[in-house]
């Protein structure tokens, strides 16, 4: 029998770190008894990518271990683990080989935790399984892979068909498109664009006479480098605008490999050549689209089901499916703009169907006859900015054209009834009511355009700090159903009101500066500039709002007419504000990182994801957050300078 004193020592060590800190010490005895301690010098490799899985996972008790992937010979750091971090969990969930290499970064004492004991804990302790399903996905090595495997462990939480399909496919090869369309470097941009549109393809590879890839032209290149530029450059050779060199890889890459590559390189097209180098003939092409759709998790299927739904229950079902799709995408580290576009499309489709259903019901009830008056359904706040990944509160409104004289009241009644029905359906689909009642079912926010113009006029002409704060969500309105021209008219009115009342932007900007970013994290505390510490981090108020507020102010100042997301606003601002190009790109990327972090946190905790416990963040997330905080600081300084806010501080 092992020494009780020693076993208790090991239990005490395990109890210091999640997920074991949640457990009754008695439960840990069995695991502690089977722990093995190993000591490693700097530089030692614990396991390598491609090694078969060991019988245990590892916990760092002292020192540090770095985990990296190697893709075509290049090292990509994935995580850095130190005291209390667990790695090598792939051994618990998977049956394939390690996908990362673990190397000792500082001399380390490791606990080896046998997988059968951890599996036993997973079965008997829900809190442990939650940790492995949620926190582990973020905090431990195989970020791209573990989450999906963890889905399999806790079916009560995540059990959806789509995930299982995905699991089976994880190590499947991505089938490249082998009928690659290529062109020589000297044809004109116009000719290349014609080939692309004729063949209905999003990219074309520019090749040498030996068929070696020289560069690539994508839709984005055409938009950015041709369409948006003044003057005609369509006659120039494609070589003048192609992205070069092309990222080349060898064939036989798995979905997991490709996702990893996509995340790390931030590229969306990869060219397969015979030997993987740019100096060999083109053999195929893999695009982001091929990677995403190869899992069988096709958002198009959900969209189709929504468009064909005949009742609200079906809408609800599809919205629930979207949530599990979201989990897979987040787990796969798919680009946030891609995910938010899909989720927004789906949300918009649900709203569209909800309005369709409601209009039909109103018609059948036959009490009102105002269907001829044009109206527009507006999404507000984060949904207006196309940033709602998780289902948060509904914020919406109805804007309708001026009703004929004498029908004002009847029209109001009618649209209010519409608002009530639609918000009811949305609530049924899991979008909870807005606590502040900013919804189309509220008589105040269901109004003809004249009243809406009056609202904005009041906010802009006589701004009060408090009113400005409460009105920000309205400035993010976006038409989702009906006559978009009503929304456009309202936006133009706002621009002209702002032009006549410059003082408003000062208030607006000042509101955006209410929250200076924190400095960073130390251990499990958020460190504030004011030297306060907090053990919970409000990602929305402390990081996302300062950025989205700043982007909104600048977009209104510069009369950006599109209904943009915060990231899109920053990217546009980068092109509009001299000297803001880099900061704009940085802020856009930072904002997308925050969206992802919030979604991951929300999914793990079944919450809105707003409050994050610092101890659940891994090293890389902390590091990135710290960088985002400094970006926020730069954005705020820019805003401050632009509006000279120090003068109007109270």
């Amino acid at each position: 029998m092992p020494s009780n004193t020693i076993v208790e020592r090991v239990v005490a060590d395990l109890l210091k770190y999640p997920p074991f800190d949640q457990l009754d010490p008695a439960v840990l005895k069995d695991l502690a008894e089977s722990v093995t301690l190993t000591y490693h010098e700097e530089g030692e490799v614990i396991f390598s990518k491609g090694d078969s899985l060991k019988g245990h996972a590892f916990m760092v008790m002292k020192g540090a271990v770095r985990l990296f992937d190697s893709i075509d010979g290049k090292e990509v750091l994935v995580d850095l683990c130190d005291e209390g971090d667990i790695f090598g969990v792939r051994a618990i969930f998977a049956h394939h080989d390690y996908v990362l290499t673990a190397q000792v970064a500082e001399e380390s004492l490791l606990f080896e935790l046998p997988v059968d004991k951890i599996r036993h804990l997973l079965e008997t302790e829900p809190r442990v399984s939650l940790f492995f399903a949620g926190a582990f996905a973020k905090s431990v090595e195989e970020i791209e892979h573990t989450l999906s495997e963890a889905f399999d462990v806790d079916r009560r939480l995540f059990g959806e068909q789509s995930c299982n399909n995905f699991l089976q496919n994880e190590t499947l090869e991505v089938k490249p498109v082998t009928t690659v369309i290529t062109c020589p470097p000297d044809i004109s941009i116009q000719e290349a664009a014609k080939i692309m549109s004729d063949r209905n393809i999003g990219s074309i590879i520019v090749v040498s006479p030996e068929n070696h890839p020289l560069g690539i032209i994508t839709d984005t290149d055409l938009t950015k480098k041709v369409v948006s530029r003044p003057g005609s450059i369509k006659e120039r050779p494609v070589s003048s605008i192609m992205s070069s060199p092309v990222y080349t890889i060898s064939g036989g890459k798995t979905i997991a490999d490709m996702v990893m590559l996509m995340v790390k390189t931030k590229l969306r097209h990869f060219c397969i050549t015979e030997d993987g180098s740019p100096d060999s003939p083109v053999a195929g092409i893999i695009s982001e689209h091929d990677i995403i759709t190869s899992e069988g998790n096709n958002p198009a299927v959900i969209m189709k089901a929504i468009m064909q739904a005949s009742d609200r229950d079906q809408l609800k079902e599809q919205r629930n499916k979207t949530e599990s799709l979201l989990q897979v995408y987040i787990g796969q580290e798919v680009a946030v703009h891609f995910i938010s576009n899909i989720v927004t499309e789906i949300n918009d489709a649900i709203i569209t169907r909800a309005v369709d259903f409601s209009l039909k019901e109103l018609e059948e009830e036959g009490e009102y006859k105002c269907a001829d008056i044009p109206f527009c359904w507006l999404s507000l706040g984060s949904e207006g900015r196309k940033e709602q990944l998780l289902r948060t509160d509904q914020d919406n409104a109805i804007l309708y054209a001026e009703p004929p004289e004498g029908e004002k009241e009847k029209a109001h009644e009618y649209f209010l009834a519409l608002g009530r029905k639609v918000t009811g359906i949305l609530q049924h689909c899991g979008f909870v009511k807005c606590p502040a009642d900013v919804m189309a079912s509220n008589p105040v926010w269901c109004q003809p355009i004249s009243v809406w113009k009056g609202y904005f006029s009041k906010w802009i002409v006589t701004p009060e700090p408090k009113a400005v704060m409460h009105s920000t969500i309205f400035f993010d309105f976006r038409p989702v159903y009906g006559q978009a021209r009503l929304a456009a008219e309202l936006k133009q009115e706002i621009f002209s009101l702002i032009a006549k009342n410059r003082g408003f932007l000062g208030f607006f900007a000042k509101n955006a500066l209410q929250n200076p970013p924190p400095l960073g994290f130390f251990r499990n505390f958020l460190v504030e500039k004011s030297r306060d510490h907090a053990n919970e981090f409000d990602i929305k108020a402390r990081a996302m709002m300062p950025l989205s507020d700043a982007a909104r102010v600048l977009s209104y100042e510069l009369k950006v007419p599109e209904y943009f997301s915060t990231a899109e606003r920053f990217k546009r601002l980068g092109t509009l504000v001299p000297g803001m190009k880099d900061l704009g790109a940085e802020a856009a990327a930072g904002y997308e990182f925050l969206m992802r972090l919030r979604a991951v946190n929300g999914l793990a905790n079944k919450s809105s994801g707003r409050y994050i416990k610092p101890e659940t963040l891994n090293k890389i997330d902390r590091q990135t957050l710290r960088n985002v905080f400094s970006t926020i600081d730069k954005v705020q300084k820019t805003l401050n300078l632009r509006f000279q806010l120090d003068y109007i501080r109270d």
Partner: protein
């Protein structure tokens, strides 16, 4: 040579049935030649510690023994050992409180003979490791001598001497600065987290972690076989 003779005598007593079976199994474990050429990764080390009523080898006695094994450079929690020894005169000694052992615990302990037989069974012919090993080995030997007329046959490594040897070379005179090689000081120097000290098992676990690091460093210093380690 003395040890060879002692082994023979013990083996003869076993054949005559004068010693308990478990003790005879221990003795039998040393019947073959010791394999000094073995690489360190193939050796089973048992790191142990004794708590005693005092520091006089002649008068004081062992209250508890704790140990943990290290094989293939790994410390295996499963392969650990702990025994408390019951004695009647325990209340008289001050060491009782400093070791955190209450009379009650010791009352629950095992008879000295039973305890030491369990220990022999656990260690077998492994290489013993202890901090200032001479003292602990002497304490165990006194019991063995009294009960069975022989002493430990195992090879012994002293962690203090090993640390000194790795840090200063084999000919440094430890006597001058023995303070630098106390367990607390070594643990701190090698950055091993101290928890509550002063139980035999707890100290053996800490000593094992120290020994694990020393073994790794020994490997870099060209010490690869048991012979290299024991300087034989």
């Amino acid at each position: 040579m003395i040890s060879l003779l002692a082994k023979k005598i013990a083996a003869r007593r076993c054949r005559r049935g004068e010693l308990p079976d478990s003790v005879c199994r221990y003795v039998k474990g040393f019947s073959g030649p010791s394999d000094l050429a073995k690489p360190l990764g193939e050796v089973r080390f048992v790191v142990f510690d004794t708590e005693t009523t005092g520091f006089d080898i002649a008068k004081d006695s062992v209250i508890s023994v704790g140990a943990i094994a290290l094989s293939d450079f790994r410390i295996n929690v499963q392969d650990s050992f702990e025994v408390l020894i019951r004695r009647d005169s325990v209340g008289e000694s001050e060491a009782v409180t400093t070791h955190g052992l209450l009379r009650k615990d010791l009352d629950e302990g095992r008879e000295e003979q039973e305890a030491v037989e369990a220990f022999l069974e656990y260690i077998g012919n492994s290489v013993l490791v202890a901090q200032h090993a001479d003292f602990d080995v002497a304490m165990i030997n006194r019991i063995l001598q009294k009960k069975y007329g022989f002493e430990l046959f195992n090879q012994v490594v002293d962690t203090a001497s090993l640390a000194k040897r790795l840090e200063k070379g084999p000919y440094y005179n430890l006597a001058h600065k023995s303070g630098e090689y106390r367990l607390d000081v070594l643990l701190e120097r090698y950055n091993i987290r101290l928890y509550d000290r002063h139980t035999a098992a707890g100290d053996s676990f800490l000593t094992a972690q120290l020994f694990q690091m020393l073994l790794m460093k020994a490997g870099y210093a060209g010490i690869r076989s048991l012979r290299d380690l024991l300087l034989k």
